[in-house]
């Protein structure tokens, strides 16, 4: 099979330069969506997926060797576990305070409408966003590795 299916060349200047512009914007937009989940549309899942798209952007621009060098798969895995455990810990704050599981016990902290308000919802957004960005990033990283190894067989 011939190899001129690779229509996007990595290390191409246009792709690289536009990735350099888009990447920080995507990261900041994702962080904004995670942190403002209780104020504006979005939340942990959506912002986490946007941040995880950074892995795909780096792969498109810089090729798979640099993607391997930059991202650490083990750290992604540990981060996802930490996010899930943090989510369960925040959910079980209700039991620690003496009420039921998933009860919003600290809901009256901060002013309504400000960034730090709504108690456990804010922290749960953060934990779920961290978990989702690590999980989807790990998934994309694994898929990129699969692409590379199937390229080598041809």
């Amino acid at each position: 099979m011939k190899k001129h299916n690779h229509n996007i060349k990595s290390k191409d200047c246009i792709v690289k330069c536009s990735a350099n512009i888009v990447l920080p914007l995507a990261l900041i937009l994702g962080i904004y969506i995670i942190l403002h989940g209780h104020l504006s549309p979005g939340g942990g899942f959506q912002g986490g997926v946007i941040i995880a798209g950074a892995v795909a952007i780096v792969y498109v621009a810089y090729g798979s060797k640099d993607t391997q060098r930059v991202f650490n798969a083990e750290r992604f895995k540990i981060s996802e576990d930490l996010g899930a455990l943090g989510f369960i810990f925040i959910a079980s704050l209700g039991i620690i305070y003496g009420t039921s599981f998933f009860k919003n016990v600290i809901y009256n902290q901060g002013q309504v409408g400000k960034l730090y308000s709504s108690g456990t919802i804010f922290w749960m957004n953060f934990a779920v966003g961290y978990k989702v960005l690590a999980g989807i990033g790990f998934l994309i990283l694994i898929m990129v590795n699969t692409l590379k190894s199937s390229d080598k067989k041809e």
Binding site: P41, K65, F102, N104, G110, G113, I121, V132, I142
Partner: protein
């Protein structure tokens, strides 16, 4: 014998489900139930302006827990399937650097 069991179970299921349907039609309406509470008292009860997030992370927190673990399971399954590729890539990575 097999046919008898099939028809028997169908008849039992039909009788039971029609009984349940008749009984449930007589239940009181839930129009002013938890829906009203979610619409009116979101800010008072949770302090979140975005009521969708309030529903997802507070009123239906168990749903979010299940969702996030569906994602966790999916990623674990993908990692198990694609693990062989990852190992072969780790062996082949050095050859690529030499070339």
């Amino acid at each position: 014998m097999k046919k008898f069991f099939i028809w028997f179970s169908i008849i039992v299921l039909a009788i039971f489900s029609s009984y349940v349907a008749v009984k449930m039609a007589a239940l009181p309406s839930t129009y002013n139930g938890v829906g009203e509470l979610i619409v009116n008292d979101t800010i008072k009860k949770t302090g979140a302006i975005n009521s969708v997030t309030a529903v997802v992370f507070d009123f239906r927190g168990y749903d979010t827990l299940g969702e996030s673990f569906v994602l966790f399971t999916a990623i674990t399954g993908s990692a198990v399937i694609l693990r062989n590729n990852k190992i072969s890539k780790a062996n082949g990575g050095h050859e690529d650097e030499k070339a």
